[in-house]
Amino acid sequence: MQIYLPIAEMTVDVFVILGLGGLVGFLSGIFGVGGGFILTPLLLFIGIPPPVAVASQANQLVAASVSGVLAHWRRNNVDFKMGAVLIAGGVAGSLFGVWLFGVLQALGQIDLVISLCYVLFLGVIGGLMLVESSRALLRHRSPTLPQRKKNQHMWLHGLPFKMRFKTSKLYISATVPFAIGAVVGILAAIMGVGGGFLMIPAMVYLLGMPTSIVVGTSLFQIIFVTAAVTFLQAIQNQTVDGVLAFLLLLGGVVGAQFGSRIGAKLRGDQLRILLALLVLGVCLKLMLDLITVPDNLYSLEVVTP
């Protein structure tokens, strides 16, 4: 069954999109990630224009994050004050990101930038995860993993605008969480990802937040930032395709149900290797698409008036 996507300006099979949404929902159910990292490249593979792919799937993350936050909220694992600072940074970052997106779009370079960003990020993250998990396999017998120390005094603690964060038991400069939020906001605007992979280690190692609070608080930030990105992209760059987003969401909800059941049965280190391989595989495919010479150097289409 073919359906016309009004903003992407192309016709696709409904079931392909539903299937993609389902697949990504399934994966994010298994790995507990928003899935933005996988969904955007997959959308690119089936020919959705990169700007539409990025902007339309940012709102996917809103739904997934809301349900995540509710679970953490019930256990009092959300630091709302810290979340507010992160959101402020995130909104500033996404304003800048969406503006940059528009400029690049006007220059005609946005497709390339999105693909390059993805190759870079997927490569680095997949590689790091693979290194981490293979090291763990080698060191499996000795349980004494060297741990990085937390709460060491660094130059970050000398910054102004100190604030007290009760839930996180921290007294730190608000500029650091603001900056972290801003970076995540830019990423959300340009790549359509929630940025938890970046935000969580930053919150743990740079801010020194307790790990129990980190996940809920980062999800709390992601809700607002991805929502802001969706609105800004729709208003400023007109790249949010409602039909595409709806179909993806529909598939995603169903897929996530199955995924989370399977994810609960796998061990953490197994999951991590699988995820690393998946991320690297997608990265490789994107890179090949960028560097191989296309079959048709010029494309011709019959346009019916």
Binding site: G32, M129, K150, F197, T211, S212, R272, L275
Partner: protein, 176 residues
């Protein structure tokens, strides 16, 4: 609490080495640690009962398993923070137990689902009575009390004492 450093806290199914606790007939009152207010009432009841009947108090702390994290260093840090939190809570409770019953409690630290781990401990160790605090509020007595006095009652190997969380200390003193 000279013998109560974190390194003294022992894990599953190895009750604290103590000459008396090896005797079978010793009554062990098991309390499950959580962050509710009725826990204190249940703990006090268990301590008073234990000291008046020559028994001992044991505390079970179940650590929730850490969710999957992309970065392993974050996940291991999360686990170690939960472990530290468990030991901190048990230290605090141990101080109360020492004050109320003149004995150090036994500790069980398990990882997993609370109900499952609790049933495991009841199965494998010689606990005599399980003491749970009940939330007197409108939301019901709490998940453990509801589960163990409801569907899972058949799996219980020991009697269950439910202490209402709103009993004042004097009432507890009298009752025990």
């Amino acid at each position: 609490m000279s013998d109560g450093g974190p390194q003294d806290i022992i894990s599953v199914s190895s009750a604290q080495a103590d000459p008396v606790s090896s005797e079978k007939q010793l009554r062990v009152f098991l309390v499950v640690a959580d962050d509710t207010t009725e826990l204190t009432t249940a703990l006090r009841y268990a301590c008073l009962r234990a000291s008046k009947t020559g028994g001992r108090v044991a505390i079970l702390y179940v650590i929730e398993p850490a969710d999957f994290q992309h970065w392993m260093s974050v996940e291991t840090l999360m686990q170690s923070e939960r472990r530290n939190e468990a030991e901190r809570v048990l230290q605090k409770m141990a101080a109360k137990v020492l004050e109320w019953s003149d004995h150090m409690p036994c500790f069980y630290i398990c990882e997993g689902k609370r109900t499952e781990q609790l049933l495991n401990v009841l199965e494998e160790d010689n606990v005599s009575i399980l003491v749970l605090g009940a939330d007197p509020g409108p939301k019901g007595p709490g998940p453990l009390v509801s589960a163990l006095s409801g569907k899972l009652i058949g799996k219980m190997k020991v009697p269950l004492t439910v202490v209402p969380g709103n009993l004042p200390d004097e009432a507890l003193d009298e009752l025990t």
